[in-house]
Symmetry: C2
Subunit: 192 residues, 2 copies
């Protein structure tokens, strides 16, 4: 469910990118680190993609394989705090069941604006229970077709189309086409 992504976001500092960055700096593959840490490579993959929030003890095990302490890990400032430019590969990703979000800027707790590159696989859906949060949001469709439901209004949008609404109104996104749909969206304040 999308709720998971939501709660993982509130995990704060982007743990996935942080771990990936540390690992790649050491020139370790997921499998090699997993072997040293005594966990499976799947665990590392899921953590790095922010699809699971590891327990402190397993994160400790993983860091032991680096090696690095928890304090060092969390003290790390990955983006130099006030980074301005971001390469595509640097955007932290939150993905789940055909829905993928890449976020502009690592730490949304210090930003007033959250900008996402959203990617919906065919059939992907933000879920039957409508989303609702205290923000305003808008976006523009890059490719594909997506059904957007806001309150009692519903519309299928294609490339070039856009939307803008008060996020307190229950809403839902659903890729009704048979190709991938990409959207650039913005939200203020950030949807924690």
């Amino acid at each position: 469910m999308l709720n998971d992504v939501k709660s993982e976001r509130s995990a704060g500092p982007d743990l996935g990118t942080r771990l990936r960055s540390v690992r790649e700096e050491r020139g370790l593959s997921q499998r090699e680190l997993a072997r040293r840490a005594g966990v499976t490579n799947a665990t590392i993959s899921l953590i790095e993609k922010n699809r699971s929030s590891p327990s402190v003890s397993s994160l400790k095990k993983v860091l032991d394989g680096i090696p690095m302490t928890l304090a060092e890990f969390f003290a790390l400032e990955l983006p130099p705090e006030d980074q301005i430019f971001f390469r595509a590969a640097e955007l932290p990703e939150f993905s789940e069941e055909g829905v993928s979000f890449r976020q502009l800027g690592g730490d949304k707790s210090r930003q007033k604006l959250q900008i996402l590159r959203e990617r919906y696989a065919p059939g992907a859906d933000t879920g039957e229970t409508m989303l609702s949060h205290d923000s305003e949001e808008g976006g523009i469709v890059l490719s594909g077709r997506i059904e957007v439901t806001v309150g009692d209004q519903q519309r299928v949008l294609g490339p070039g189309d856009g939307y803008y609404f008060d996020s307190r109104t229950p809403h839902r996104f659903r890729n009704v086409g048979d190709e991938i749909c990409e959207i650039i969206s913005a939200c203020t304040p950030p949807y924690l």
Copy 2:
């Protein structure tokens, strides 16, 4: 199972005592902190007693209620590094199903010797699958009666009695009496 305690120990810095210390410094009850953090009081209780290793996201939620960042939390040095004297209440506790360990000195990763005050409730048992690790250990019974199995030898010990063996030999402790049994034990190197 006792294995859990084992893996929680390797969680490293004693997370439970650390959290309890931070919470009490702020004058918060478990319930009050739970309310602010949006978790239940049971969660806090279990974490503080090292009976569960929280996910990073839930630990983050808890710390948000303090408030305090993960980096600050892990950077904290609870015992001033080379503490010599410990009050009874300061001993970090690891407990589970009638078995409780209180450890002398917080961080066993820097110590060569692990000294525990063990407490077995009537019927408590370290489990059917025998324990085995690369250490030597010994202990003296303070009160109650405990059945100690080491390899093919087995004995019931009472107050004043002691034991010493190579921990690689499969072993097991079981309180066969109807009163609490307390033991002071030592192990080198620490049973991670």
